[in-house]
Every structure is written in C-alpha cells, then in structure tokens.
C-alpha cells in the first residue's frame, strides 16, 4: 500500500518542488533586476540632467557680434575740441552706431525700418564705444572696424534657436532676417567668444549679462562663512570630543547639533531675516549676512565631521603625550588636532560646497535684488551664483535660458573643484591607524 502510494506521489511531489524552485529562482532574478533598474533610473536621470544642461549651456560660450565700421567723428563727439573727460563721457555714441549702420545699409529709409536696423545691435554697443574712447582719446577723427555685440534676439536667431520671419511674435521680422543673412554672407556677423559673460555683472539685457558679480558675491559670502564656521566648528568638536563631561548639558548640545543638521535651510533664512536684519539692523542683500546665515547652517556639518576625525585618532597618541607630561590642552593642540586636521578640512570643504550651492536662505535675506555692480566688500549689496541662476531662470527672454545653463555649469565646476580637493586631501593626508 504505502509503496504504491509513494510511487504515485513521487513524480507529482518532485514536479511541485521543481516548479517551486523555478518560481523561487525567477523571483530571485526579478528581485535582482529591480535593484539594477533602480540604479539605472538614478544614473539615467543624472545623465539626462547633465545632457540637458550642457546642451543648453554650450551656445552661451559664443556671442553673436556684428562688424561695423565706426567713424569717431570729432564734430559729433567733441564739437568744441575740449578733449574733456566729462564731455566725452556724455557724448552721443548712439549716433556713431547709427551712422555706421547707415553707411552699411544706405538703402534703408523710414523711421520704422531704421529703428529695426538699430535694434540689430545691443544697447551695450554704445557703452562699449564710450569706454573704448575714454581709454584712448586718439581714436577721435579716425575710422575703425569694430565687432559690436548684437542684441539677444539677433543672437538667438543667428544661433538658430528661434526662427526668423513674421511668425515668431515679431522678435526678428522678415526685413531684419534679410539684413542679417546679408551681413553673414559678407562675413560681418559671426559667433565670437563671449567674454562679457565672464567679465561683467548682471544686466537686464541678456547679451550684456555676466556672472562676475555673482561669482565675487559667492566668494565673499563663502569667505565670511568659512571664517565663522571653521573656527567655531573645530572648537565645538574639540570641546565635545575631548573635554566635555558626559552629562545632560552636553547630551543636549549633541542632540541639538544633530537636529540642526536636518533643519530645512529656508528656516535659517527666516532666522537671518528676523534676527540679523530685523533685530540687529544689518544691511539687506549683504554677503556679510549671507555668510553668517550659511555659517550657522554649515556649522553642524563641520562639527560632525570634526568629531569623527578626532575620534579616529587612536588613544595611544594621547597616552604617549600625557606620558611625557603634556597638559590636556597641549595633548589636543600639539598632537590630536594636527593629526585630525585632514579629516576636519575634508568635512569643512564639503560643508562649504553645500553652502556654495545653497539658495533658499539667501532669498530670505534679500540677496535676490537685481544688482549690476560687482560687489567690493562684505557689506555691498550682492548676489551669489545659485541665486543668479534662479533669477535668470525666471527671466522671460529666451537668451537667458542658455546663460542660466552656463551659470549652472560654472557653479558645478566650482563644486567639482571643491569636492575634488576634498577627495585629494583625504587620499593624500588621511592616516589609517
């Protein structure tokens, strides 16, 4: 009986267990696949992000310029022949540009057409002529062929980013398109390196806007942030790790620091607005205030990294120093801290990198103002790179999109340099005990 039963049951049981095993293995493969998909999704997104930004950004490297023969007519610029700086600064350089365009397109008549012609060039062209003349007065009376910046609409059209003709909302009309094609065929319109983007401050005109002001603002803000966060962070880390007794007070400080590390950055902005601007009466939009706010924000990062680095220094170093009669302060200052320094610095650089990319708290303290001048000191109104990105991203002109992306690339370049420095520091100086 029993033998018959097993004989009949065995194949089906074996089949069942085989089936189960197959299902289990399929589940195994699926599970593994989910993991690969998750990683792939993240990597693909990252690739997409970089591809999108770089593909928009690269056109900002060039700026369309138009070659124009300018006659620095003494009768127009300086009719009395005074060669006085004030007179020269106030002269009508727009007229020079108009004359230049007029000789190039003598057939263009009528107010409307002339204005359309004038609009091919940026309003910045007149300022560039003025600055050139103020730097070199011997130009007066001479003729020079100069490359002047085209307006942002022309720039977009020449880069092929917007269509010309009547159907694009009147940005570049059909006549302008003909003129531009003519200029291009004569070699008087080309893409030249966009030095203005790297050497000027913000502007309402995309073709004149640059990131120098924001970059200097970022630099000043980070300098203040570093000057505050590094010493305070290291001192706190040293106290908590080396000297603090274990009691409720230090426990409170520790919990508090961990918590502060996870407080949303915009809340630090509210703190800056209420306390630094409202209560202490500090100036709005100043890198000083931005630096203080960012320092409070990065302090926990520096402290946590500092403590980890101090903890990694083996007790034998301390014991040896105590053994030759050093005081607790000397043990830390002469032996433990120098050995922990690479770790502390790595943590600080990473904290600074985060501060460099931070936007939200700076919006709260007014660093979003439109500021043309490059800031010269920590109390001048300024903006920073990420805020500049935010401001340009909001601007309606198409030409600002590529500049936004280019500013992002500059910001990312700074971040890469800082993170690379951190990695290098760790590789070069970190000791394993």
């Amino acid at each position: 009986m029993t033998e018959i039963a097993t004989d009949q049951a065995a194949p089906s049981a074996r089949r069942q267990s085989k089936d189960r095993l197959r299902r289990r293995h399929a589940a195994e493969r699926r599970f593994r696949l989910y993991g690969m998909i998750a990683v792939a999704v993240a990597l693909l997104f990252l690739a997409g992000l970089f591809a999108a930004i770089f593909s928009i950004a690269y056109t900002a490297l060039g700026q369309t310029e138009i070659a124009l023969e300018i006659h620095f007519d003494g009768a127009l610029i300086d009719p009395d022949g005074t060669r006085n700086g004030d007179v020269l600064a106030r002269a009508d350089y727009g007229a020079l540009v108009k004359d230049g365009l007029g000789t190039l397109f003598p057939e263009v008549k009528g107010r409307r057409d002339r204005r359309a012609l004038r609009k091919l060039l940026s309003v910045g062209a007149t300022f560039e002529l003025r600055d050139m003349l103020l730097a070199d007065q011997s130009l007066i009376g001479g003729r020079r062929t100069l490359w002047l910046p085209a307006s942002d609409d022309v720039d977009m059209y020449a880069k092929g980013l917007v269509a010309g003709g009547a159907d694009n909302g009147g940005r570049i009309n059909a006549k302008q398109a003909v003129w531009l094609d003519l200029l291009r065929s004569q070699g008087q319109l080309e893409q030249r390196f966009n030095w203005r983007f790297f050497l000027s401050g913000d502007s309402r005109e995309p073709e004149l806007a640059g990131i120098l002001g924001a970059a200097v603002g970022s630099l000043l803000t980070l300098a203040i942030c570093l000057a505050l966060a590094f010493p305070l962070g290291v001192m706190t880390a040293v106290y908590l790790q080396e000297f603090a007794p274990r009691n409720r007070w230090t426990d409170l400080i520790e919990v508090n620091i961990n918590n502060l590390a996870a407080v949303p950055s915009i809340v630090f902005g509210l703190l800056g607005l209420a306390v630094l601007l409202g209560f202490a009466g500090m100036p709005r939009s100043a890198p000083l205030v931005g630096g203080i706010v960012l320092a409070l924000m990065t302090l926990p990062t520096v402290i946590i990294a500092g403590r980890a680095a101090l903890q990694a220094v083996p007790p034998s170093i301390r014991d040896a120093a105590f053994g030759i009669g050093a005081s607790p302060m000397q043990v830390v200052a002469h032996h433990v801290l120098p050995l922990a320094m690479p770790g502390v610095l790595t943590g600080t650089i990473i904290g600074m990198a985060r501060a460099l990319g931070e936007t939200a708290p700076l919006l709260m303290i007014g660093m979003v103002a439109f500021i043309v001048d490059v800031p010269l000191g920590p109390t001048d109104p300024a903006t920073v790179l990420p805020v500049q990105v935010y401001l340009w991203a909001d601007a309606p002109e198409r030409a600002f999109a590529e500049r936004t992306a280019a500013a992002i690339v500059v910001l990312l370049a700074f971040l890469v340099v800082m993170n690379f420095a951190a990695v290098l520091l760790r590789r070069r100086f970190e000791q394993r005990w």
């Binding site: 998750a38 990597l43 990252l46 992000l49 502060l260 607005l273 306390v275 990319g357």
Partner: protein, 460 residues
C-alpha cells in the same frame, strides 16, 4: 574703516604684550626657562590675552551702543516741534539728516534745522571715534600692565591661559544651542503676532489661502485669507510623489549595491549616486521647470490628459530623484552592518539570496531604514528651490498630481521675497508657516532618532 584701525592697534598692542610678558618671565628666571613654572610663551600668551580681550570687548560693546546713543542725543537736541512727531516720521527725519551728513543727496531742500542737526550728528560721531580710541586703548593698556605685573617665575601661566581657552571652547559649543533658541524664539515671536491678526483655528483649518492683503484700507477685493489647509495638502502631495519615487529607487539601489554588486561596480556607482545629493537644488529646479515639466505636460497631452505646466508630478518626481541618495546611502550603511552570520544561517536553511534579503536582512535593518526614510521625508518637506521653480503659486486643494499645487516652502519664499512691511499679516504668515515647517521636520527628525535608538537590534 577707523574701527578696523582701532582693532589693529589693540592687536598690535597685544603682540607687544606677548613679547613683554615672555621677556619679563625669562629675565626674572635669569634666562633659564627651566626655572619657570610654565613655558615662556605661556607668560607671553597670558599678557596678550589680558590685553586683547578687555580691549576688544570694549569695542564690541561700544559699537553696539554707539548708534543708539548718538540717535538719542541728536533727536533730543532737535527743537520742540520735532518731538511731537510720530515715531516713523522721526525715523525718516533721522535718516534724512544722516544722509545729509554723509553727503548723500536728500530728496527735498535741506532746511536749517536739519543741517544743524546733521552737523551735530557729525560732531558726535567724531567725538565717539576719539572716545573709543582713548577708552579701548586705555583698557587694553591697563590689562597689559596688570598681566605683565603678575608674571613671576612661580606664577602658573599655563593654567591661566588654558582656563581662557577652555572658556572659549565652551562658548563656541553653545553657538549651536543659541542658533536653535534663536530660530525658535524668532519663529514663535512673529507667529504670536500673526495670531493676533488671524485666529489659530482659521489658520490651521481654513480652506482658502490668498495672502494678498490690501495695502490701503479703501482697496477692494484683496481682503486676505489665511487658511493653510491647501498648502499643507500640496506639501503632502508633492512629498508623497517624491517618496513614491525615492523609497523604492533608494531602497533597491541600496540592496543592489550592498548585496549583489561586485566591489568594483560598487566603488564606481556609489560615488556617482552621491553626486545626485551634491547638485545644488536650484539646478534641479531649473531642470524640472525647463525639461521635466514640459515633457510631462506634452506626454499627458498626447494621452488627452489636462496636465498643468507646473504640475505637482514634475516637482515631486525631480525631488524624489534628488532624495534617492539620502535613502540609499543611509540604508546601505545599515544593510552592510547586518552581520554576515545571519545571512549564512539563512542560506544554510536553503533560502535564496533574495529570500534572505527580504526575510532576514531587511527586518534586521528595518529601524535604520525607517529612520532614513523619515529623514528623507523631512528633507522633502523642507526642500525649497525645486518647488519654488517648478511648482505653482496658487493654493489649490486637490489630490490630482497633474494640477499645480503649492507648498509651505514656496509660500514662505514668495511671501518674503521682494518689498515687505514687517507688520503685515502677509509677512507674519510666512513665519507661522516657518514654525509649522520647523515643528514638522523636528518631529520627523526626533522620530528617526528614537526609532534607531529604541528598536535597533544589537548583534555581537
């Protein structure tokens, strides 16, 4: 500028003090440092601190008090008809005369009274600078002299100096505490003022949010209503979408990297994933607004769906990607920390690798994983730039991810950017929202902390 010079003068005096203290100690010991209690530099340091600390303290106090004192003196010297002016007008007049004194053009013709007051102001400023120089240098000099006199071979200079350093270390460690206190106090204080204008009930349970208040009393329409429910709902919607992306992606990445991937793959992919956490959020915001949102809108449009170009989906999706590394790296750490013996026991019973992970490793790592998820939620709620750039401004109460919703952080940013008066309900509402945000994230962080501390299984 003159203040910087004074500080430099104090510091150079302190440097001289260092030389003097060191020199005196060595001289008293007859040039033999072994006869001293401490190292010669400690004596120098003692004199330096005794000179610099009081001098700098005087400057700090002086700078804090000076503007108020000068303002009081100038205003009380003004003729009688100025004193009856309301406070704001008086403040304006004071700003005017300060501009006048600094040679900045004033927008109306300066009258005789104002220019007299301006020269009074300038005179007071000059007196103040001279006074500061004399007082701070005198205090620093006295400190130097007193410190120098105490230098003696048996004086324990090292202990004295180390006491100062210890106090400085303790003071530095309280900065973090004061930051928290400052955050709480400023938020609570402004929020209380807000609740003087809008009731707590209306704020927490009101269904309509339109913070535009009338600038003048006779304006129509914009009465302003501060029901925050749509904002909370929008925040939760976007965070939920973000977590729906980040939790599975983060968790599976962590499992794959810690359990399946070879060491070489792991060494490459882990840092690349961390890049996602290092990219500034404003970059994500730009990407979401420029690329992802139009993509979703057009894809939805081709399926006949009406997708807003500021849809919650776009913001949530991008935010979710941003959060992946926060979940994956923390979970990775806790999964790696599960002892190998547990896995081997499971394999020994015949379990496959995925069964081992699901039934042994994940339960063992669960407290850490939950805490990482809670921290990620807290980050999603507090994230600002992505939603400011990619989510909407209008407070819609909807659960439809294709529509535009707004969040707490977006509202804080829009209410406080630009011109503002400090007293309007509009400005104060931002602080009330800030307090809600702070309390929510604090709660999540503490929960994360407690989860790990209480439920973590300790092996070995």
């Amino acid at each position: 500028m003159s203040h910087l010079l004074i500080i430099l003068a104090i510091l150079s005096l302190a440097a001289i003090g260092f030389r003097m203290g060191r020199g005196r100690a060595l001289a008293l010991a007859g040039g033999d440092a072994r006869a001293l209690h401490s190292l010669p530099n400690h004596y120098g340091g003692y004199v330096l601190l005794n000179c610099a600390l009081p001098g700098l303290a005087v400057i700090a106090i002086w700078l804090a008090v000076e503007p108020h004192a000068i303002r009081w003196l100038v205003l009380s010297a003004l003729p009688g008809d100025f004193r009856v002016l309301p406070t704001e007008r008086l403040g304006l007049a004071y700003d005017d005369l300060r501009n006048l004194a600094h040679g900045v053009a004033v927008n109306h013709a300066a009258d005789a009274v104002l220019s007299a007051a301006a020269s009074h102001y300038l005179a007071l400023r000059r007196i103040a600078v001279v006074g500061l120089v004399i007082v701070s240098l005198a205090v620093a000099g006295t400190g130097l002299w007193r410190g120098w006199r105490r230098v003696a071979p048996n004086f324990a200079a090292r202990r004295a100096v180390e006491r100062y350093i210890r106090v400085a270390l303790i003071a530095a460690s309280t900065v973090a505490v004061f930051t928290t206190i400052g955050i709480v106090l400023s938020l609570v204080f402004e929020t209380l003022r807000f609740f003087g204008k809008v009731t707590l009930w209306d704020f927490l349970f009101g269904l309509e949010w339109s913070p535009q208040t009338a600038l003048r009393a006779d304006q129509v329409g914009s009465s302003g209503s501060f029901g925050a429910v749509p904002i909370f709902a929008g925040t939760l919607l976007i965070s939920a979408i973000a977590m729906a992306v980040a939790v599975p992606a983060g968790l599976f990445s962590a499992i794959y990297l810690s359990e399946y991937a070879s060491r070489r793959v792991r060494d490459v992919i882990k840092p690349v994933l961390e890049i996602l956490a290092g990219i500034p959020t404003v970059v994500y915001g730009f990407f979401a607004a420029l690329t992802v949102a139009p993509l979703i809108r057009d894809t939805g449009g081709s399926f006949g769906l009406d997708v807003s170009s500021e849809s919650a989906l776009a913001a949530g999706l991008v935010m979710g990607i941003m959060i992946i590394p926060f979940i994956s790296s923390l979970s990775d750490d806790v999964i790696t920390a599960v002892p190998q013996s547990l896995r081997e026991a499971s394999y020994g019973l015949g379990a496959t690798q995925s069964e081992t992970i699901r039934q042994v490793v994940l339960p063992a790592a669960l407290p850490g994983i939950i805490s990482s998820i809670l921290l990620a939620v807290s980050r999603a709620i507090g994230e600002t730039m992505i939603v400011v750039m990619a989510a909407g401004l209008a407070a819609n109460l909807t659960a439809n991810p294709f529509q535009a919703v707004t969040t707490v952080t977006v509202q804080i940013a829009t209410l406080l950017v630009g011109d503002q008066e400090f007293d309007s309900a509009k400005t104060l509402a931002a602080f009330a929202l800030g307090l809600v945000l702070f309390v929510m994230t604090l709660g999540l962080n503490l929960m994360a902390l407690v989860t790990v501390r209480k439920y973590r299984e300790k092996y070995d």
